[in-house]
Symmetry: D2
């Protein structure tokens, strides 16, 4: 990667908690008012990898909300995600980021063909790149989880999809996938950090391949699922048969509200469940709940209860409670992904970046869910960039 | 390993909970009344390794207690470690094992030089090998944890040690190390499954090297520490700074009573603490307690509270509660270790078997504590046998 | 209560886990092979109350299942609810109880008017009383939870109800209420230990009043809800504002299966939720789940997470995990209720026994949910009998 | 209590976390920037009790530290105990309180007879009363826990004590008791909120009786012990035999540091243990730990594991984790106690106010530890004032 090259990081959902925390964090890192805690790419293992520096990243994005970033950041400081001193130090920088946020796509607000909407989104990304003389713009979706999208034949074939997109009477793509389509048309690598459809549709993956663009996803692994992919391999390695693995997630914030809708929650629940089945087999009883508990604010609490069987059939159990700030867990990974995808793009890689499975609940192009193995693969791959 | 070769497994502490459960388990596996749950060497990854079959292992051992094995097994069945049906199926077999148990060494009961005591122990092992026409006898220490033993110059030098052993006025070796010495003199590979000194003294390691014998230890990793070596690498890989890791262990049974003595508990606490410091650095506050709670019987419950710091200094926490039957967790590992050490001995390996770190809190000859890495090393090594 | 008077205890669901454990327990108490642990009426506070002795109670009941009681008891012993020694001591007594169990009412298996079914049930109870020369028969419903029953006008008026019951084309009463009707017609006091409709219909309560019979209910308070009614008053007394109280229940056994049906689970969830709202107000976020986790067997595990606000708005939390044998918690209460209702009946009391709220999630005739107050009321009332 | 009478609240340890939070809280209540959450005396049950209003209380105190209150409050706001907005609203008021804090007694800094030191402390309290025209000054000890104090004969007899106090060669009273002595000599009611000796010495209780002064204590019940006195009666009422009750407390802040000293911790551990034994009997295994975990800051986390036995000997368990801000839990109780003791004093009560047991781990003059009973007694008593 040429020195002093600048990379854009375009966030879909740029005014949400995760994006705001990522913006605050990037500004705080640049200002030297925080260390790199929580940033994987700041670990010694990544010291020799040609990653962009914090000064080399420029933030922008789409959102359908209009709350100023500064206001959102103040709310997050109040909620304890970061300190008021950090907020004060980055306040002015947030206004600059705010100026780079454009209206996102909302199906209800749009009339006309989806192709037109996509063209507008693409133009926003291109204009951002031009304004800042960027070598590339990495697009990352951190918007709210969508309801599962019904499968259409057009999702499997790029030509059929593009034909449908120009039809003003149809709306074949969910918002996340329209954003992914627009990103790819802008020549941008794409990261799906939510469980939404995004780039996972075969037609879009064809487009990425055709354009020679790398992509990664999906659904950031930040809490309960992270622990599951750490703990499940232990049971397997010790020949301890897991019989049930029950989980309850309590979350407030916007995320809690979005996921209080059972249809939307299903996207998340499915994404979470796939990993456990892959790790332990299909015969594990695994009830899983996501509850909206507004008073918890930005805090997410997960309780898991694992019942397992050992030697001579002895029945034993493990419980854990994980309490964290969802945004503080997710935001540094956004910066890590932006850096790593930048390096991969600069190195000419394209298609699904399977070595980034470390970051995801449902890794695209890989069925390796074991966290230690994902860690080893990530570090080995980064060493080749 | 030649087919149909038979191997002895000689347990120091042969009437304790772990040894009794191992005996019940081996007999139950042979009788086909239980599956191989909890036995690592029954996993597909070990399918091609030339391990002895369950029929190829013969049990014996030393103990200072005289409670019949059958009686101990009945107590364990009553305490829920295994079912009454399993007990009934192996009852007669236990009497045969019982007949192979000899009086162990107890410093208070012994007069004369320690060399004489060692010679008697060695003779017991040799006679066992002769009686059953065994290709080798693997000695495993599963007796109660000893108090930490003060360091003597003789512990560092084999010649000095042997000179001291013949002096009837001195008792330079703790029981566990006398047993290890006797085992090595009998030509036996040795496994230290407790946190006692055992084979860890440099003079004894010299003896093992000189005799070309393999050994492994120490302190079986079955619960809280197992989880710590699984979870700590996750925090490191995600750049989450652990600030404190507090732990409380509640245990009943004989183990709880032994460890209620603060001096003895220190051996265990030190063994547990070393791993955490190795994994996360020395600056983690890590209070750790072992409490004797007799009413819990054979159950061990551990609660850990981890406080960590993420992006922008966000403070978060993880708690877990592990509830298990200590003997059911440890016993299958005894059988696994006996099998693996047998294969290593048959393959001509000697010295510290560092690849067995997977099984231990404080792996001899290795400072790798990360469980996933230990798992990978174990499997790779087993593939070379 | 005249000395040596004998009382029948007729259990609806007489072959279920709770009834079987109650039968085993009563026989074990009589045989002196267990103490009175878990039996409230064995506490010193009840020493002077004229309660029937264990020898004065005779068991019988209805069930639609045909598994012999001995077989069920063996399964429960195997599942750890009680020891094999207890089972062995009461085995023969169980056969006697078994002989007193008659076919229960099942809507799908019945043709004809519900009045005929009720008459048959009533006759069973009367014949039981005659056979054993019983002073009374207390009927207790411990059968599986029913789905919530839609409200009909006949449920509010006894005359209308009795008119409908003789109509072979209609089935206006759910099974639990038909059993309650039959019990009252047999002159029996009635206890509703489940969240099913049972005696809660106004028409049936009219019948009880008319017949001068006491009754009590509903839904035995044995675990999570017990703790809630103990803990919630603490928050109130300390002016700590509870903001959310989330709960997850994991249960195996037949109960788990029954409650895996979301419609049926609703009966239980509603019964549980009412108490919390009564104790803390309506504005507490209180998601609540019941999950069927078959491998847990007879064990029930509940996790609750309470988020509350203190001085100056400080946000704090309490979590608890309760792990118990549901049947072992419920069964002694069945015996306690049988004894106390017997004494109340002997003392001429009729109508809702509100002082028994101590035992129930949703106390009939009382909105006192605070456990300490319920305890005080129970003891005071018992002293008047 | 005459209207518009003003009462002083003199805090021993006036610059500590609890005192600072109480000061912030009182100022915030007066300023209307917070509600009365956490204040028991703001509950409807106390509506008719003639308590002083928030405007009627004037704060002052002794401390051996010199950190300005404003600085301490800022640290507490940073630690999350209260919001920055609250801090900003009370900042100027804190300076006024600060001006009323005098140097406390420190044995190492004092030369001469303890009587002289006491006289100086008494004079400070009297001058405070004069300056503000106070009807009375209630003295509350919220300073750090002292090591247990060895018993001396002078502690049992007031005359002997006063003779010893004038001897410059002796120092018979620990700091807390010297403060209590000085308070009583100033005509002040006294509250012992710590587990230190304070007023508990018989000679001082004689002095209070002689002076007709009320007093209360000791050791504020704010977390783990509060829960124990709520939960233990439940087990008793349900005839569930508690076999063990293990506890671990993790705390940071100054409290953690003070209690990291095992000798000092003993005062607290003894105070905590007494209640459990009183509630459940002496035969409950009850290991208890207090660990200093500095990174937790002002947060205190307690984990308790209760093992109990039910019907037919079934073994079950309850665990809880309590996470709270110690100061936010204790501070409102200081204001409650000041109000209630004021009303008691105004009503002419003297001696141990046993009805305040509700607030204490080790209630003076009462062996009632059951929280619900304490609540009822408190409310009934307050109604008589």
């Amino acid at each position: 990667m040429p020195a002093h090259e600048r990379t854009g990081v375009w966030l879909i959902g740029a005014r949400g908690s995760v994006a705001t925390t990522a913006a605050v964090g990037l500004l705080a890192l640049r200002a030297g008012v925080t260390g790199g805690g929580g940033c994987v790419t700041e670990l010694p293992a990544f010291a020799g990898v040609p990653l962009p520096g914090w000064d080399d990243l420029v933030l922008g994005g789409h959102d359908i909300a209009h709350t100023p970033l500064e206001k959102r950041a103040e709310q997050l400081a109040h909620a304890g995600v970061f300190g008021h001193a950090v907020f004060a130090a980055v306040r002015s920088g947030l206004a600059e980021v705010d100026a780079e946020i454009r209206d996102g796509y909302h199906p209800a607000a749009h009339t006309g063909a989806q192709a037109d909407a996509a063209a507008r989104l693409t133009a926003d990304i291109r204009a951002f790149a031009d304004r800042h003389d960027l070598a590339r713009v990495v697009v990352v979706n951190v918007s709210s989880t969508e309801a599962p999208c019904p499968h259409l034949p057009e999702h499997d074939d790029l030509d059929a999809l593009e034909a449908a997109l120009v039809d003003p009477a149809r709306a074949v793509l969910p918002s996340s996938s329209l954003s992914a389509y627009a990103a790819l048309k802008a020549g941008s690598p794409y990261v799906e950090f939510t469980p939404s459809a995004g780039i996972t549709l075969p037609a879009l993956r064809q487009l990425a391949e055709r354009e020679g663009l790398p992509y990664a996803g999906c659904d950031g692994k930040t809490g309960e699922t992270l622990l599951r992919t750490v703990l499940a391999p232990m049971f397997s390695a010790r020949a301890l048969k897991v019989r049930s693995w029950a989980g309850t997630n309590l979350l407030g914030g916007g995320d809690g509200e979005t996921l209080a809708d059972p249809v939307t929650a299903n996207s998340k629940l499915e994404s979470k469940a796939r990993g456990l089945a892959a790790l332990l087999g299909e015969d594990v009883t695994a009830p899983l709940h996501i509850d909206n508990v507004p008073d918890l604010g930005e805090i997410k609490t997960a309780w898991d209860h694992v019942s397992f069987e050992g030697f001579l059939g002895a029945r034993m159990s493990l419980q854990f409670t994980w309490t964290g700030y969802d945004s503080a867990l997710a935001a540094p990974l956004i910066l890590d992904l932006a850096r790593l995808v930048t390096a991969a793009h600069a190195a000419g890689q394209s298609g699904a970046l399977t070595e980034l499975g470390f970051f995801f609940k449902d890794p695209l192009g890989s069925d390796e869910h074991r966290f230690a193995e994902q860690t080893a693969r990530l570090i080995a791959w980064a060493g080749t960039l």
